[in-house]
Every structure is written in C-alpha cells, then in structure tokens.
C-alpha cells in the first residue's frame, strides 16, 4: 500500500453513526413487532371466522341431507302402506265375492 492508499484509508475511516440511529431502529422495530402481532391476530380471527362458517354450512348441509333421507323413508313407508292396503282391499274383495257366491249357492 503506497502513501496515497494510506491517505485514502485514513480518509475513509468509519464515521460514527448518528446518536439517534439506534433509538430510531429500536422504535421502528417495536412498531413493526406490534403490527406483526396485530396482523397475526387478524389472521387467526379470519381463520376462526372461516372455520365457523364452514361448520355452520356443514351443519346445515348435514341437516338437509338428514331431512331428505327422512322424507325419502317416509315416502317409501307410505308407498308400502298403500300397497299393503291395496293387497288387503283386493283380498277382502275376493273374500266378499267368495261369500256372495256361497250365499247364492245356498239359496
């Protein structure tokens, strides 16, 4: 390193930072930390709200499926009762006809 370079090295010694620099950094760091915590809290709030909506929608869907299934089972039971009534009616008609025929044979 020649004289000129030594002189340059001397001229380019580190300057002391402004006394307020560290304080400003720590203040901004504190504010950023609060903002970060706030945004985390908001995020969790949104996640919780999302989960609640999903749960409500899921419950509603489940309830609708359950109601549809009950209605379908009710329809099926009604159809079976109607068939049973029709069969019974038909059997009674048969019996009635049989009785009528027996009566007319006796006379």
């Amino acid at each position: 390193m020649d004289d000129f370079e030594q002189e340059l090295k001397q001229a380019l010694q580190r300057r002391p930072a402004p006394p307020s620099l560290k304080r400003k950094i720590m203040e901004r760091r504190g504010l950023l930390s609060i903002e970060r915590r706030h945004s985390h809290w908001l995020l969790w709030q949104r996640v919780a709200a999302g989960l609640l909506i999903v749960a409500v929608l899921g419950g509603a869907m489940q309830w609708k499926l359950h109601r549809d299934e009950e209605r379908r089972q009710g329809e099926e039971a009604r159809r079976q009762v109607m068939i049973a009534l029709r069969i019974t009616g038909h059997a009674l008609n048969e019996v009635n006809a049989q009785l009528n025929r027996t009566h007319s044979g006796d006379e």
């Binding site: 001397q10 001229a11 380019l12 930072a17 620099l21 560290k22 720590m26």
Partner: protein, 173 residues
C-alpha cells in the same frame, strides 16, 4: 427466546451501526438518506435474524445488504431526476478540518463521491472495510476480474483528481 434475540439484535446494532451508516453515507453522499438506509438494513436483518449463522455472517450480510440498498437508493434518485450528490461537507454538517488530519485526506472523501458508482463501491469496501478483492467480489456478487478492474481504475482516477486538486490548492496558496 424472544428476549435473547432482542439482546443479540441490539448487540449487532451497537457493533455495526457505524459500519452500515458509513457505507451508506459514502455510497449515497446524503446523511439523511444514509440514516434511512441504515434503519431499513437493520430492520431487514431483524426479519432475517433466524438465517444469520454467526457474528461474521451478520457482518457479511450487513455489508452486502447495505451496498445493495444504497445502489437501489441511487437508482431511485436517478429515476426521479434528483441531484445525486449533496456536497459532503454540507451533508455531514461537520467541517473537514474537524474530521481529517491533512488537506488531502479532507478532499479525498469528497473526490471519491465524483467516481462512478461501481468504482466508488469497490474503493469504499477496500479502504473503509479493509476487504480483499475476493471478499468484495463475494459481497458485490461480481466477478473478481471486474472488482480488480474497478479498484485499479477507481484508484487511478482518484489519484489523477487528487493530483489536479493539489495543484490547484498549491496555486491558490
């Protein structure tokens, strides 16, 4: 855990604020801007504290990011068409005689500000931070040959400017 990090961070700020501020100041020539850059660099370090492997890595990281942020600030100013360089004496708010032992040393810092950005960056890292060309190349993400060339050209140009300035100074006496 958070308390430990805070202690580490404060310690890093204490240790390196002068380096970061001086690098930004010599790259931008603006004390206010240098202070802003230094704040941003340390806050970015805080966000990346988990990735820092040790004190040496922190120093390397700070140098690298400071040079990068300073280059960004200069680019933004160029785009805005603002005056790039504030007079160093005016910007520092301190008279040369209070800072430097010789008239040449006092003007060298000012003359440095007239060099092209890449040459200035190489010279600042070489003579302020006492870094080797290989280390400068790693910090600047530049080929070693480019760094060596910037150092040689910058030094030559600065020497020529200083000689011319000294001639004028002697003539003025």
């Amino acid at each position: 855990m958070a308390h430990d990090w805070q202690l580490d961070f404060e310690q890093i700020v204490d240790q390196h604020q002068s380096m970061v501020f001086s690098l930004a100041l010599r790259m931008t020539g603006d004390r206010g801007l240098a202070e802003e850059i230094a704040q941003d660099v340390f806050l970015e370090l805080d966000r990346n504290l988990g990735k820092i492997e040790g004190p040496e890595h922190a120093c390397y990281w700070l140098r690298r990011v400071t040079m990068s942020r300073s280059a960004d600030a200069l680019r933004r100013r160029r785009v805005r068409g603002m005056d790039l360089w504030v007079d160093m004496d005016e910007a520092h708010g301190v008279r040369d005689t209070e800072k430097h032992s010789s008239p040449l040393g006092a003007r060298l810092e000012h003359l440095l500000t007239t060099l092209p950005e890449a040459q200035r960056a190489a010279l600042v890292l070489r003579y302020q931070e006492d870094m080797l060309p290989e280390e400068i190349a790693a910090t600047m993400d530049a080929p070693l040959a480019t760094v060596k060339s910037n150092l040689q050209r910058g030094l030559k140009l600065l020497r020529a400017k200083a000689t011319s300035h000294l001639r004028e100074y002697i003539r003025g006496l």
